[in-house]
Amino acid sequence: MKKQEFINKLKEELEVEIEVTIDTSIKDLDEWDSLGAMILIAFVSDSFGVTLSADDIKNISTFKSLIERIGLEKFE
């Protein structure tokens, strides 16, 4: 998956209405909450087989940091 494709799909899953870039802070989005965290974990698990822990959720800031946590090698 390309990084931009991942960001677009995740944006759709989280039903984010504004434009986002790789540097957008996920937790500053209006749509971010505990439900969003669950959606994010499920989406990353389904797409990459990667399990994000509670600590990962705490430490993630931007989409870029999320992509780095998933593993750059998993992206085209």
């Binding site: 749509e31 909450d33 669950m38 974990i41 698990s45 994000l52 822990s53 959720i57």
Partner: protein, 335 residues
């Protein structure tokens, strides 16, 4: 000798807390999105003077009629994490309040969302070992009493309820094989820390923030949502497959899967992992929310209303502990 679920009744407290009610307090939150994803519109909650035992008594009273006499009950299994007192055993008080016989067994067991499936297996064991003929299995829970008023997420998810299930001795066996799982390393993923023997209830307890605006203290219920989700997603689909093997069945041979109704998003996530069609996978918590050990009996009673012929139903409970259990039952009528 076999065991059969012959009747289920449940009782919900009168007070209904709707998403609109919560919206008044948490006005910035998108409850429409919550409802769409989590599948909950409203939940029932007890008032200050109402306890899980009060709900349990009302659920049990609905069980008894001309065909089912109180004097027939020879064992009470009471599942709750909201006991009436530290001691005595709530099941003993229930025996007296229902005026059940005095020559019966009665015990409490402390489990949450895995409690109902545990209870069915225990009831089957008591019956098949000829220690009881009619077991009254009661689940009763009032998590609303544990939740901080500013903990929006948990107030939105959990509802209070009680359910009573009658398991009777029968010629055919309609309660199949059960399996269990336990991982106490996750004991603190869903916990009320204070008020037991380890930590005193603390009147000056510091308010903590989950980071998503939800607040709690150590006197209140704390749930580590991501970790509970990961536990469920990681363990339960595999466990369900083990249950199928244990009962010599394939997914196609099961008429309905009724999992603990935790939340619709998580249930659908597992359903897709297991490749079970929507029509064979029960999801309905719209008007009750997650009622802990009561979700499966409530779902089972509602689902059974459309049963015409004998159906094989797989039940799976999972949650606080961490603890999980499940098994296969057959039902051939509305319960």
């Amino acid at each position: 000798m076999g065991a059969t679920i012959t009747k289920i009744e449940y009782f919900l407290p009168e007070t209904i807390l709707t998403n609109d009610d919560l919206k008044h307090q948490f006005c910035d939150y998108d409850f429409v999105n919550f409802e769409n994803k989590v599948g909950i519109k409203s939940r029932h909650v007890v008032n200050e003077n109402e306890t899980a035992l009060d709900l349990a008594i009302k659920a049990c009273e609905k069980i008894f009629n001309d065909d089912t006499l109180k004097s027939d009950i020879d064992f009470v299994l009471y599942c709750s994490q909201s006991p009436e007192y530290f001691l005595p055993t709530t099941a003993c008080i229930l025996q007296d309040r229902l005026k059940l016989n005095k020559n019966i067994g009665a015990l409490d067991f402390n489990l949450g969302c895995s409690g109902y499936t545990y209870g069915l297996s225990l009831a089957k064991g008591l019956i098949q070992s000829n220690q009881a003929k009619k077991v009254l299995l009661v689940t009763a829970e009032t998590y609303s009493k544990f939740i901080h008023p500013e903990d929006r997420t948990n107030r939105s998810i959990f509802g209070d309820a009680a359910a009573a299930t009658l398991i009777s001795h029968s010629i055919d066996n309609n309660i199949g094989d059960f399996l269990f799982g336990t991982d106490g390393s996750g004991f603190d993923k869903l916990i009320v820390k204070n008020g037991g023997a380890r930590n005193d209830f603390d009147l000056n307890c510091k308010i903590k923030d989950y980071g998503t605006g939800n607040k709690y203290t150590d006197n209140h219920l704390y749930m580590n949502g991501p970790e509970v989700f990961n536990f469920t997603a990681g363990v339960i689909p595999k466990f369900t497959k083990e249950l199928l093997v244990k009962n010599n069945l394939k997914i196609d041979n099961v008429d309905q899967f009724i999992f603990h109704q935790a939340n619709a998003f998580m249930l659908n996530f597992m359903r897709k992992r297991l490749k079970i069609s929507e029509s064979k996978f029960y999801i309905d918590l719209a008007f009750t929310g997650n009622t802990v050990s009561c979700t499966i009996p409530i779902a089972l009673k509602e689902y059974s209303k459309k049963i015409k012929f004998s159906e094989k139903i797989m039940l799976v409970g999972f949650g606080v502990g961490l603890s999980w259990s499940g098994g296969l039952i057959s039902i051939n009528k509305s319960l």
